[in-house]
Symmetry: C2
């Protein structure tokens, strides 16, 4: 089978040239687990830091040996677990950039292929969507009258954050994104009230203009610097959700921290979110969100490529913030 590995240990933000596609022997089905063919592979920003051994204490993959880490939607080929049979669909976080994967017991969940398109389980129903749901419903507890500001609003997390906020009763949802194409996605597809392009001169004044009321909720999953700016704008008693801060993944020096005096003066609640904690709620989320997908209240965009060989280039674009929509590699066709 094909598998993508690192060419060499990384010391900087990865780019497409750091990967190589190899032919390797396919694994065997593990005791109590399943052997799967990988169909829709999710590319996610946290992998960028994990490749350097800088994510949640997880080791970097060994160059030339270990597949690049990645979550995926897969179809079972062989099962040694009683509750799963060949042909079933599963989602697992630790699959890797490869065509066939061995998933040990406890590492995967069965998914229903009929509730939504299968690739949705890599994005809006996958980890990015669960992250957004956890932030809005479990931490910020968004409700009627909230004004929600979302950074990286065109991304699969941020875009879902704003839509879930709206579904839960927020009166106004504003995004920040980089570039006109992303901003158009945020307002046209995701239905935010406005999206400000931080790459434009004068964007901070533009943001003020679309925020006549201060945001009561802020969601950040990229930039500590942007979080600091948002803290200045936050309404009294506002809630600020911080999750994977991509700018810290790649920094050798952490960026300047959050002004503690502002946290006091605003009576802010600043909350850290790690989506792992919400894996036990995944099926609950899928049940709730697939209904929103079905009735059109929740939308998503994919940036999808075909075949493992296309993964490095898409990952390079993801690392550069140049992709639009959820980065998905369709490694194999759904139907065989």
């Amino acid at each position: 089978m094909k598998q993508v590995v690192l060419k060499h240990a990384l010391t900087a933000r990865p780019s497409a040239e750091d990967f190589v596609l190899l032919d390797v022997p396919a694994p065997a089905c593990p005791e109590g687990g399943v052997l799967v063919r990988v169909v829709h592979l999710s590319l996610d920003p946290y992998v960028g830091s994990r490749l350097r051994g800088k994510h949640m204490g997880e080791p970097a993959p060994q160059p030339g040996l270990d597949p690049i880490p990645g979550a995926a939607v897969c179809q079972v080929v062989e099962s040694r677990a009683e509750w799963v049979k060949p042909g079933d669909w599963v989602h697992a976080m630790e699959v890797g950039w490869r065509e066939v994967a061995d998933l040990p017991p406890g590492s995967f969940r069965k998914i229903d292929p009929d509730v939504a398109p299968l690739s949705a389980h890599a994005g809006v129903l996958g980890m990015p969507g669960l992250t957004a749901w956890a932030g809005m419903t479990q931490l910020a507890k968004v409700g009627q009258g909230d004004v929600v500001l979302v950074d990286a609003a065109a991304g699969p997390v941020g875009g879902t954050v704003g839509q879930i906020a709206r579904i839960k009763g927020a009166s106004r949802v504003i995004g920040i994104a980089g570039g006109p194409e992303k901003c158009a996605l945020v307002t046209n597809d995701y239905g935010f009230d406005a999206c400000i392009d931080y790459q434009q001169e004068g964007w901070e004044a533009a943001l003020s203009a679309v925020l006549p009321q201060a945001p009561t909720v802020y969601f950040e999953n990229v930039s500590t610097t942007m979080a600091s700016k948002a803290l200045v704008r936050l309404a009294p008693y506002g809630r600020m959700i911080l999750c994977g801060l991509v700018d810290q993944y790649h920094a050798d020096q952490p960026p300047p921290g959050l002004n503690a005096g502002l946290i006091v003066g605003k009576r802010a609640h600043v909350m850290g979110l790690v989506v792992y904690d919400f894996y036990p709620r995944w099926d609950d989320y899928v049940a709730e969100a697939s209904a929103w997908l079905a009735d059109g209240r929740l939308r998503y965009r994919e940036d999808r490529v075909e075949g493992l060989a296309a993964a490095p280039a898409l990952f390079g674009r993801l690392m550069a913030g140049a992709n639009v929509g959820k980065a998905v590699v369709s490694v194999a066709p759904e139907q065989i």
Copy 2:
């Protein structure tokens, strides 16, 4: 009557030499309010920044004219409010360093002189105690099994924080304070499990030794720098309560902020506390805490001086962190 004012506008942390005691005409009883004699005047750290116009947007007192701001326990001399009569006791935040004060309607609360010593309403039952109670019961929601770390533990806020945490079920309560006398107060009088003197060489290792389990709750009301150190130690899902950060009151440059990546990784909840928000709960707090005072579970220490002329020197010691116990000026005797 006597009144203390600023000699001149302040540009640095105040000291005893910045104040002067003047003879001024006594005020008249305001419409709907009361005229009181000031009995126990509370000296509090926030006044240090307020004197420079750097506290919550409140204006600095005018040199030579306005009394130095201060809360106090007072006895009513004349009343134009139906629900208060001469001889009643009241507590008010905006009294000032003077012998007689005019309190407008809505600016004072009646207190029961029989639930506790009157001066307790300036400290453990006053704003410092209410701050501690709000932090532990309304924000951190301390309960069974919590390990609570408290900075400035010898102060009237910190000392009460630890005791309320213990009353509410915390399994371990650790303080940080400056100097052996303060640490002895924290462990001997306030009953903390341990108190570490941050002025001692090797104090961080000593703190580790008394914290075999990471703190689940941290309370800070002085130092952003200490809060940053505590964030490193905080247990996953820990709660950090930040209130009046004295080091920010006096800094021209705010100290370095809190590491946002640590907030994420620990899933910390960092919460700002401003005690004003809890004034509507003051009587509830006094009811609960006076029972704890009566049964000996809640203790306090005062650093009390007699007469307004002694206020500047005590305030200077408070600003230097040199006082031990709640700074109270007994302006007049309780009985006349």
